[in-house]
Every structure is written in structure tokens, then in C-alpha cells.
């Protein structure tokens, strides 16, 4: 059943991920989005705040491939630049949340006892506030801005990662190889960093991938209610809010940014799903 193969874990993972066409599609779309966000100023045909009164509510045309908004700003350019805010909200918020969450979860799970008890009770309380409510409230109280939106999103996502990491650490902690490491004098730091975290990360990787998606989603919502990115900086959620008032006459103004949000979230979810299957040890060999 087992063939002796000299392949690194990463290669192995990629080999298994590759079989899932949807996950690869998600990865491609995500890569494309990141590229677009980075190269936005070069790709956008117009500046995102360049107004052109003649082009107010312009329909799709060679000059404005997706049309223009009330102030005559090019929709395509705004969508391209808008990718930046969305991806930043997704990636930075998740990085913050995941690093804090993993640290809390790993410590609580590994040491157990009262460390674990206290952290989990605090998380219980924290999580008894509906997440989106907490997020909107924090964003509102801190004041509307991209930076505060990211903080709010990050703070709200911590418990999820912490709990997952803790659960994952608990499954690794009692394995005999941890005892073996202790028997050869490995210290706590070495055991956690060298043995526990690498073996506990698999579910976290999936959660992080999907978490980027949900932060993009929640971020667009914050902007939609006016608590995220402030005009004139374009952001997909803000653009949907602006397009909302003219839904009847010019539905595309709200339609396209929504599609952008959906595509980026969808690709995160597809990739996450694929990673989950690829990392599942039971499906190996």
C-alpha cells in the first residue's frame, strides 16, 4: 500500500490538491486577484477618482468597458482599485486573528489546567456576542476607516482560530512522539514549536484560507453600512452602497462589485475545501 517515495510534504500536498479542479480554479482566481490588487495603478484605465461629468451613468462602451457611475468615474478602474481594500481587509485581519488565536490556542491546549480553563471561559464570554454584531459595533465605536475595520474584523475572528488550534493541539499533545521528545530532554518551547504546531496546523490552514473569504465578506458589509473604507476610495462594499440608490435605473453599478466580492470569497472557499481534502490523512494513499 505504501511506496517509498522521496517527496517533500509540500509537493505531496500539491499533487493531491491538483486533482481537485475547482480548488485549482480558486487558487488561480485568487492569484489573479492578488496580482490585480498589486498592479492596480498600472491596470486601471483611469484614476479611481477621476470625474467626468459627461460620462455620468455612462453605459458600457469602449471608453468605459463596464460603464461609469454618477460622477462619471470609470467603474472598471474603481473595481480594480477596490480589490486592494478588500484583499487587505481579508489578509491583514486574518493574519492578526490567526497569529493571536494560534498563540492562545497552542498555549491553552498544551499547558491545559487553569491556563486552559481561563482562556476558554474568556472566549466563551467573548463568543456569546454574535460575531457580526461585535464587529460592526467595534468598527462604529472606533470610527469608520479601513484601519479600524481591519482591527474590528481581526479582533472578532480571534476566538475561532484559538478554539480550533486548541482542539487540534489536544489531539497532538497526547501522542507518544511528544513524550518521546520529552524523554530526550526537549524543552516546552521546542516541543511546541517543533512538534506540536507543525502537526496541528493542517485544520488551521484550511480555516485561514476560508477565513480570508469571510473577512472579505464581512469587510464589504462594514463598508456597505458606511463603517469601513470611506469615499472617495473605492471599495466593493461601498460601491454596492452607492449603487443601491440607483438600482432601478442602473443595476450594474451594484451588480459588478457584488460579483467581485462573491468571486473572491468563492475562490477562497473552493481553495479551502480542496485543501481540506488534500490535508485529510485518511484520504492519503
Amino acid at each position: 500500500m505504501r511506496k517509498t517515495r522521496k517527496k517533500s510534504k509540500l509537493k505531496d500536498l500539491w499533487r493531491r490538491l491538483k486533482r481537485n479542479k475547482l480548488a485549482v480554479a480558486g487558487l488561480v482566481v485568487l492569484a489573479l486577484l492578488i496580482f490585480v490588487a498589486i498592479a492596480a495603478p498600472l491596470l486601471a484605465p483611469y484614476g479611481y477618482s477621476v470625474q467626468d461629468s459627461k460620462a455620468s451613468y455612462a453605459a458600457a462602451s469602449p471608453e468605459h468597458p463596464l460603464g461609469a457611475d454618477k460622477l462619471g468615474r470609470d467603474l472598471l478602474s474603481r473595481l480594480i482599485v477596490g480589490a486592494r481594500a478588500s484583499l487587505m481587509m481579508g489578509s491583514i485581519a486574518v493574519s492578526i486573528a490567526a497569529s493571536i488565536g494560534i498563540a492562545i490556542g497552542a498555549t491553552a491546549g498544551y499547558f491545559g489546567g487553569w491556563t486552559d480553563n481561563i482562556s476558554m471561559r474568556v472566549l466563551d464570554i467573548y463568543q456569546s456576542i454574535p460575531m457580526l454584531l461585535l464587529c460592526i459595533t467595534l468598527a462604529a465605536i472606533l470610527g469608520p476607516s479601513l484601519q479600524n475595520a481591519i482591527i474590528a474584523l481581526g479582533v472578532c475572528s480571534v476566538p475561532g482560530y484559538a478554539r480550533l488550534m486548541r482542539a487540534s493541539v489536544l489531539t497532538v499533545r497526547d501522542k507518544e512522539f511528544i513524550e518521546a521528545a520529552r524523554a530526550v530532554n526537549a524543552g516546552n518551547a521546542r516541543i511546541i514549536l517543533q512538534h506540536i504546531v507543525p502537526n496541528a496546523m493542517a485544520p488551521l490552514i484550511v480555516e485561514i484560507t476560508m477565513g480570508i473569504g469571510s473577512c472579505i465578506l464581512a469587510g464589504s458589509l462594514l463598508s456597505f453600512v458606511g463603517l469601513g473604507v470611506q469615499p472617495p476610495t473605492p471599495e466593493w462594499g461601498t460601491m454596492i452602497a452607492e449603487g443601491r440608490n440607483v438600482m432601478r435605473e442602473h443595476p450594474t453599478l451594484a451588480l459588478y462589485p457584488g460579483i467581485c466580492v462573491m468571486l473572491s470569497v468563492l475562490s477562497c472557499n473552493l481553495l479551502g475545501d480542496g485543501l481540506r481534502d488534500a490535508l485529510d490523512p485518511r484520504l492519503r494513499n
Partner: protein
């Protein structure tokens, strides 16, 4: 052509598992008969294909990835592999029942043990719920569990007791053939002794034929009438317990005995079989044991030996088998 007294006859059975990467040749054209009232032991190491044989008989191989590529399984002259699912269901759990290795996971955790036993009875015999429950209680008593525990859940039982429940469930419809897949491997020796003793007496009382799958030669010698030694998906030797224990003919069987630490042993070293089982995705062309065999010659790696009967009922799959 049902031979007199044969309850089950397996002919030329081959099972493969197809995964994305490779094909595993789990069972390789084996033949086997189980006589009425007989207990046959299937001995072999992990991955030898014992479980696949048992599951093929019952038609519960996970398909895909498993695939039965050839063979027939005759139960009282009926070809089980060609039987429609509806008919097969009437046999499963009723005429042929199975006990599994791990009693911890073999029971549904959220149903009472009584329900799980009664369910089998109601599936096969048209009796009322009350009658089924009464019979389930009787079964519990029979395996040495107080019937007051009818309404308890599996997690309230210890491992040995769970295995008793599993046995009660398997015997609930008084099957003709019981497939026992390592029924005591997960248990402690003293509990194993209790469970084996109980199975022994039930077998005698109910006149059930048993196919006992195990890796423990000790269990085989105490429990079985005949033995089939399985190696890498093939039956390399079969015969009565006396044949196998007193006159083993296959080098693998001999190797197994040499590997065993004996309570009566005096020498300080075991005589293990060298090497390890062949990769089931890449099996040798000739005899599957040739890489590890102390007697191997050129011809062994070229073509597989045929099974030869060295005494009535004692067959060995080896070129060196002493001819009758």
C-alpha cells in the same frame, strides 16, 4: 455441484482495490471450503487479505475502491456474488453473520444495545416488536449479560462486554455461518479467554459453522478444526489443525512457527522470517513468498507454484511440497 457437507465454497476469488495511484491485489484467486459445523481458521498477518475474504462473502466490501475481479462464492449451492441485493440481504445477518475486530466502534453509539439486537431479529423474522425484544433479552442472557441492561447504550459497557453484545447480535438469527474477524484481538487475555470460551460453547450449542480470522496461532489451535494460512492474498497452505501444527508443509507456515516466542522454548534467539511482506501494489510474478523463503530457487521467482495436495485435505502451494 454441491459437494456433500460443504456449506460454503469459495472458488478462484480475486479482489482488487483500485485507487487513483495504484491497484492493490488484496486477494489473489483463492479457493476455500467450509464444511457444515466446521470451524475454520484463517491465519495470516496484517494486510494478508483475510478481512477482504470475509467481507466478500457477505458482500460488504467497500465498492469502490474494492472490486471482485473473479471467482464465485457458493453458499448451499447459491452463487452469492450474482445474487440480487434483495436476496443477499436475506442472507446477511440471518444465514451468515459477522463479528468485527473492534467492539469499541462496531456498535451504534446512540442506540441501545437491546434495540440493535432486536433490529436484526425484526429484519429477518416477522415477529412483533415485543417478541423481538424478548428474544433480544434472551440473546443478552445467552452471552452472559443481564437482561436488565437491554436499555443501556454501548458506552456503558466495557470492551469485553461490547464484544459480547456484538456476538449476541450476530447470533440473534441463529446463522449457519459466523464470520469472526479477529474477535478477541482488542481484548485482554483473561477477557479473551472468557469470550473464546463463550463462543466455543455457543458454537456447540447452536451448531454454527465458524470462520475465525486471526493472526494468533494459539487461538487457532484451541478453537479450530481446520486452518487456512493466508499470505499476501493467497492461501499458501490449508488442512486440519493437526496437519498444520504437526506437519506444516509451506516454508511460510514453518517461518511463522519459528517466529513465535514459545513458553516452552529454551534457546535464546527466535528464528524470524527475513524481510517483509511484498508491496501489495507490486507483487512478485512467481511465488509471493520467494523473496523471504530460505529454500527459494530460480523457478520460484519465475512462475507461481500450483497448489498440491500432500495428504487428503492438506494442500500446500509450494514447489517443494512433498508429493503424496
Amino acid at each position: 455441484m454441491e459437494e456433500q457437507g460443504n456449506l460454503l465454497e469459495i472458488r478462484d476469488l480475486a479482489v482488487e482495490y483500485h485507487t487513483d495511484e495504484a491497484t492493490i491485489y488484496a486477494v489473489n484467486h483463492i479457493g476455500l471450503t467450509v464444511k457444515k459445523g466446521e470451524t475454520i481458521g484463517l491465519v495470516g498477518e496484517t494486510g494478508a487479505g483475510k478481512t477482504s475474504i470475509a467481507r466478500s462473502i457477505l458482500g460488504i466490501l467497500p465498492m469502490p475502491p474494492a472490486k471482485i475481479v473473479s471467482g464465485e462464492i457458493l453458499y448451499r449451492g447459491n452463487e452469492l456474488l450474482r445474487l440480487p441485493e434483495r436476496e443477499m440481504r436475506k442472507i446477511r445477518g440471518n444465514k451468515i453473520a459477522m463479528i468485527f475486530q473492534d467492539p469499541m466502534t462496531a456498535l451504534n453509539p446512540i442506540e441501545t444495545v437491546g434495540f440493535q439486537i432486536a433490529e436484526t431479529i425484526r429484519q429477518h423474522d416477522s415477529v412483533s416488536q415485543v417478541e423481538a425484544n424478548r428474544r433480544a433479552c434472551d440473546m443478552l442472557e445467552m452471552v452472559g449479560i443481564a437482561m436488565g441492561r437491554f436499555g443501556d447504550f454501548p458506552h456503558q459497557f466495557s470492551g469485553g462486554m461490547k464484544q459480547r453484545v456484538v456476538i449476541a447480535m450476530a447470533l440473534a438469527c441463529n446463522p449457519e455461518l459466523l464470520l469472526a474477524d479477529e474477535p478477541t484481538t482488542a481484548l485482554d487475555v483473561t477477557i479473551q479467554a472468557q469470550v473464546l470460551e463463550m463462543m466455543q460453547s455457543l458454537r456447540e450449542r447452536l451448531e454454527t459453522s465458524v470462520m475465525l480470522i486471526t493472526h494468533d496461532l494459539g487461538v487457532v489451535s484451541e478453537f479450530c478444526d481446520s486452518v487456512a494460512v493466508v499470505y499476501a492474498g493467497e492461501i499458501v497452505e490449508r488442512g486440519t489443525v493437526e496437519d498444520i501444527f504437526d506437519r506444516p508443509g509451506h516454508p511460510y507456515t514453518l517461518g511463522l512457527f519459528g517466529s513465535l516466542p514459545r513458553l516452552d522454548a529454551t534457546e535464546r534467539r527466535l528464528k524470524p522470517i527475513k524481510g517483509r511482506m511484498p508491496d501489495p501494489t507490486n507483487v512478485p510474478e512467481g511465488c509471493r513468498f520467494c523473496d523471504r523463503c530460505p529454500r527459494a530457487e530460480d523457478r520460484c521467482s519465475k512462475s507461481p507454484p500450483a497448489e498440491s495436495e500432500i495428504a487428503p485435505g492438506h494442500a500446500v502451494k509450494c514447489f517443494f511440497a512433498p508429493q503424496r
